[in-house]
């Protein structure tokens, strides 16, 4: 087992280099650089100053040199600073001589995105499992049909459209929920509990919208997995023993159904750090999706590369964790690895 782990971890190094190489060159295939942003199209801004900036950021050097420089920094875990005029560090905060702390861009955006996605994932899984089991138990009866229709509608409805409708309904006509942002304007002056309630209320809509699309696939996984399991002989045995139907389904069948879900959870780890650009824009949440999108539009290479690198590391770890989780849950696979 340990051997297997070490081998997998070592394999990640060439994989990461390969991924970063490809992303670096693809990124540079897109025309333009930071000096071509729309605000730079200003007759008061001279071409010399743009050239100066290009030289400063090594954008005038050959691509291979630029990649070498990037690689040299990244092995020291230095993600660099943004090219944008705020020059903020890409990953983590820095402190200047006077003790002023500049927060990192990913450091700011990641917790927000993680929080929304984790809550979303939790909701998706708990609701999907419930829906999937209900569907499977009532296969081809009306609850099954109804659930399928509902989850597919949820899957098909454009999120931004539903988001705007819900924002209008809950925020403008009724003022039940806040419309956008994560905190109210007077957040700092609130008490401790009030702050939590405030955050909770701000999260209801974004989390619901982001979960809605995920329900369909997971609940169908659960439904089909459950149907498979229910056909098997040990279920018949369990029923023959005289167990209650609830025990058969939740105690025996569900546990076996959940096995493939481990893979899905593992694969959704990298997705946890990626936010939806549209969702974040509409709800005015400054998460990873918007950070990445803006960085691509601005050709802010250090930020793009930083997010891609962290994303690929997480993907590789997610795969590894999925495999390990599988081995932990399923003795057949455990034996396969040890051999």
């Amino acid at each position: 087992m340990l051997n297997y782990l070490i081998k997998r971890l070592l394999w990640m190094i060439p994989m990461l280099i390969g991924i970063s190489l490809i992303s670096f060159f693809i990124m540079h295939l897109a025309p333009g650089d930071i000096t071509a942003s729309e605000s730079a199209f200003n007759p008061k801004a001279s071409e010399e100053s743009r050239q100066k900036l290009r030289a400063l950021y090594n954008l005038d050097k050959p691509l291979t040199t630029q990649y070498g420089l990037w690689l040299k920094r990244i092995v020291k875990l230095d993600f660099g600073n943004s090219f944008a005029s705020h020059q903020r560090p890409v990953l983590w905060e820095t402190k200047d001589a006077k003790g002023n702390v500049t927060k990192g861009m990913i450091q700011d955006a990641l917790p927000i995105t993680l929080m929304i996605n984790l809550i979303g994932l939790l909701i998706i899984f708990s609701i999907s499992i419930f829906l999937g089991v209900t569907s499977a138990v009532n296969q081809n009866k009306w609850p099954d049909r109804l659930i399928t229709i509902i989850v597919f509608i949820g899957f098909a409805v454009p999120g931004f459209w539903l988001a705007l409708l819900l924002m209008y309904w809950t925020g403008v006509t009724h003022s039940w929920l806040p419309i956008s942002g994560l905190h109210s304007v007077g957040y700092e002056k609130m008490g401790y509990m009030a702050q939590y309630v405030d955050l909770f209320k701000h999260l209801i809509l974004p989390v619901s919208i982001s979960s809605l699309g995920g329900l369909a696939s997971i609940s169908l996984y659960v439904r089909n997995g459950m149907l498979d399991v229910l056909q098997q002989e040990f279920i018949t045995t369990a029923r023959a023993k005289g167990l209650t139907e609830n025990k058969v389904i939740y105690g025996h069948a569900l546990r076996n159904t959940l096995l493939p879900l481990i893979t899905i959870i593992g694969l959704s780890i990298p997705g946890l750090i990626g936010g939806s650009v549209i969702g974040e824009s509409i709800f005015a949440i400054s998460g990873m999706g918007k950070l990445f999108f803006d960085a691509v539009l601005m050709r802010d290479f250090p930020v793009v590369m930083g997010i891609l690198t962290i994303g690929s590391v997480l993907t590789l770890f997610g795969n590894l964790i999925a495999d390990i989780g599988y081995a932990w849950a399923d003795p057949r696979i455990r034996r396969g690895i040890s051999n």
Binding site: S49, S85, V172, S175, P178, L182, M190, I204, L297
Partner: protein, 544 residues
């Protein structure tokens, strides 16, 4: 089982609904007295990048920094130059020296004196090669700058440079005592500035909001509104929902919201006031003058006659714009009232095209010359208004037998692969209606290298000469004559076709009082420091 779930959801909703805030009935009408205090909340689409405006390039940064820092001189409500930190400025007889006399007792927000030394320091910064500013070139023309005493700042140019005053009306003065040992490109000052103007920064939450509060030692006097909060909301539909839910006080709106949505809803009309002001830019159709047949004056004029500008304004802006006949803001002295846009005249267009040798020889509905059909591509970037404009142009051109195709391209690719390489036939883009009339960088024949701004390749000796003259003449009356002549030639030559200058549209909650309407040339915000919020109309500052 299902019922349990539904019940749970209902409870959730009820928890949320408990805080249902009571609709407060404000009485917006009546007369109110000027009073201090209150908070104005607005929405910004982008977050400021850096509050040192010589380094930041984005409009959000300059909007915020403009509330914090002062310049030597400014543009007043009629867009004439007026004193700000300097009480007066004197131009020498040879027009090469400008002497600014600063007001007395100027203070930074931290209590230090603001003197001409700070101005000199700022000039040194902006011209320093190490400073990452794209705006240094105007200031590098200064041969010598000096601060002979704390209230005098003197600049001497190598040769008379007319846009100099405009450049001093845009340079925000920075405090030497804080920045003298700092690296301007990386200093934390850009996130925690100390200025001298109406407001100072009180809080900046990344990705969320920025709050300014009145600066007690402001050199400009105290503003009425005590606090300005800008929330960063990228999506304009969300901004609009926040506006009508009374969570923000003002935002820029689009023509549909201005002309259709708000007027048709009595509840919105009751609490929102609408303002329009002429914006600072115009949209044009520009030709690549190095490509056939756009090198032919008759062809350009024909297309100018063939386009119905009012139709574009009505269709794209719902009438909320003005046609322009020069690259200057209508209503300012630089814009010549005697000039009028080309009228829509299809027959004149056809006549000119025939003179240029175009006719439909093969009867396919498309004009041709020497066996080649008149077909070209209009490029524009991803901008809804420009895309709609392109479609209207395409239709009008088809009327006279020109086949135009439209291509919409992402901005960075647009600039790098088409503009810089000169690989385009025609573009729809915008230029600013600059406050200073100098447009040397856009129209002078020497400015055609890749990356420079005369990318359409305009080359006219007379225009070159006028532009050079205008740059060295500081007398406004003489300049006016020069730039009127320049505008006239430009209009006749039609290297670009002026399409429209759109209005800036603002919706503002009626709790904000003291706004001048109709807007003066500088726009409604020129006196935003005199706006006030009557205490009876203020929103509950904390709504937990």
């Amino acid at each position: 089982m299902y019922f349990k779930y539904i019940f749970f959801l209902l409870i959730l909703f009820n928890v949320a609904a408990c805080s249902d805030k009571k609709e407060i009935a404000y009485n917006y009408e009546g007369t109110f007295n000027n009073e201090k205090g209150g908070t104005l909340i607005d929405a910004m689409s982008g977050e400021p990048s850096n509050l040192i405006s010589m380094i930041a390039g984005d409009s959000a940064s300059s909007a915020i920094a403009g509330n914090i820092f002062n310049k030597l001189i400014k543009y007043d409500k009629n867009l004439d130059l007026a004193p700000e930190l300097a009480e007066k400025w004197i131009i020498s007889g040879d027009q090469k020296t400008i002497t600014f006399h600063l007001k007395r007792n100027l203070k930074w927000a931290d209590g230090h004196d603001l003197t001409s030394d700070d101005v000199l320091f700022t000039w040194k910064l902006v011209t320093d090669d190490k400073t990452r500013t794209p705006y240094g070139s105007d200031y590098k023309l200064v041969e010598k700058a000096e601060a002979p005493d704390p209230h005098t700042f003197k600049v001497i140019y190598k040769q008379a440079y007319a846009p100099a005053l405009d450049s001093w009306a845009s340079l925000q003065i920075l405090p030497k005592h804080i920045l003298k040992d700092e690296d301007i490109n990386h200093t934390f000052f850009s996130r925690k500035p100390t200025g001298s103007s109406y407001y100072k920064l009180s809080q900046w939450v990344n990705g969320e909001k920025l709050t300014l509060e009145a600066n007690a030692s402001s050199v400009m006097g105290e503003p009425n509104i005590n606090q300005l909060t800008s929330r960063f909301i990228a999506d304009t539909s969300s901004q609009f929902l926040e506006l009508i839910a009374d969570n923000i006080d003002l935002m820029n709106i689009n023509p549909i919201q201005f002309a259709r949505v708000i007027p048709s809803r009595p509840d919105l009309k009751k609490k929102l006031a609408l303002y329009k002001e002429l914006g600072n830019s115009y949209t044009y159709l520009g030709f690549n003058l190095k490509h056939h047949p756009f090198d032919d004056l008759r062809v350009r004029q024909a297309i100018n006659y063939a386009l119905d500008k009012q139709e574009v304004i009505d269709g794209v802006l719902l009438g909320l714009g003005e046609p322009v006949a020069s690259p200057y803001k209508p209503g300012t002295r630089w814009s010549d009232k005697a000039l009028h846009p080309y009228p829509y005249d299809k027959n004149q267009a056809l006549k000119l095209l025939h003179e240029a040798g175009f006719s439909d020889t093969n009867n396919d509905g498309i004009l041709d010359r020497n066996g080649k059909p008149f077909t070209f591509e209009i490029l524009t970037n991803q901008n809804k208004q420009r895309e709609m404009t392109a479609v209207l142009i395409q239709r009008r051109l088809k009327d006279i037998g020109i086949d135009a195709k439209i291509r919409v391209i992402e901005w960075a690719s647009f600039v790098n692969q088409f503009i810089k390489t000169g690989d385009f036939d025609a573009v729809i883009l915008g230029w600013s209606l600059s406050l200073d009339p100098d447009q040397y960088n856009i129209w002078h024949s020497s400015q055609q290298k890749p990356g420079q701004f005369n990318f359409i390749g305009y080359n006219n000796k007379e225009v070159d000469q006028l532009l050079e003259q205008g740059r060295t003449e500081l007398n406004p009356d003489k300049r006016e004559k020069i730039y009127h002549a320049f505008s006239k030639t430009l209009l006749r030559e039609s290297p670009v076709i002026y399409l429209y200058a759109g209005y800036g549209l603002t919706a503002m909650n009626k709790r904000i009082k003291g706004i001048e309407s109709p807007a003066p040339p500088a726009g409604i915000s020129y006196n935003s420091y005199d706006w006030f919020i009557p205490s009876t109309l203020r929103r509950n500052e904390i709504t937990p």
